[in-house]
Symmetry: C2
Amino acid sequence: MADGDDVLAANRRFYEAFEASDIDAMSDVWVHDDAVVCTHPGWATLHGWAAISASWFALFHNDQALQFIVTNEQARVEGDVAWVSCDENILGDGPGGTAAALNLFVRTNETWRMVGHHASPVVPRG
Amino acid sequence: MADGDDVLAANRRFYEAFEASDIDAMSDVWVHDDAVVCTHPGWATLHGWAAISASWFALFHNDQALQFIVTNEQARVEGDVAWVSCDENILGDGPGGTAAALNLFVRTNETWRMVGHHASPVVPRG
């Protein structure tokens, strides 16, 4: 249970870095290797920290302010791997909306760091 | 490396069950518990095997034939957890297109079973 709390705290750090457009904090969230993966909504999957950090840099230099209300967080821990599924309810200059996210973490030296992020738009159903 | 091969084989079984609209084979791919997660393209995340199996049942009873050419498969194994990122290049009655997928597996009794599937449409960039 404490494990799950630590993972949820890591997940929160990710969204705090995202909201703050803080590239240093975002960098600290992630594992820096060639095997990490990141899929932004509508994007092809990016592989490796070099490509992923460039994408955050580009997103953070875009003027759009984003605020997230993250709901429905569910963490699962299996050994030194954990994942969180959650809904990103996006408030911002644009139309907002909800994205479904799956965030993957690996524990090294008692710290959970992100190794995968996959977010996708939820299409409203009539 | 052998581990990675086993995970890629499990990933292939998932897409074979999907293409064959074979609910028994799809059921055999997954862990059946309340913590598994599945996000179909454009959908909200489904939680738990009951909701997920119902979604496959509905998708398989829809007449649309789907064929996948799965490319860019990259597997990573950490203990008894593994994940595969890949591109689902969809041929079918509809317009086709590409989805980015992240598939999560847990090993129990030497068998890799799916605990998470997240697929999202890749929007072509001009």
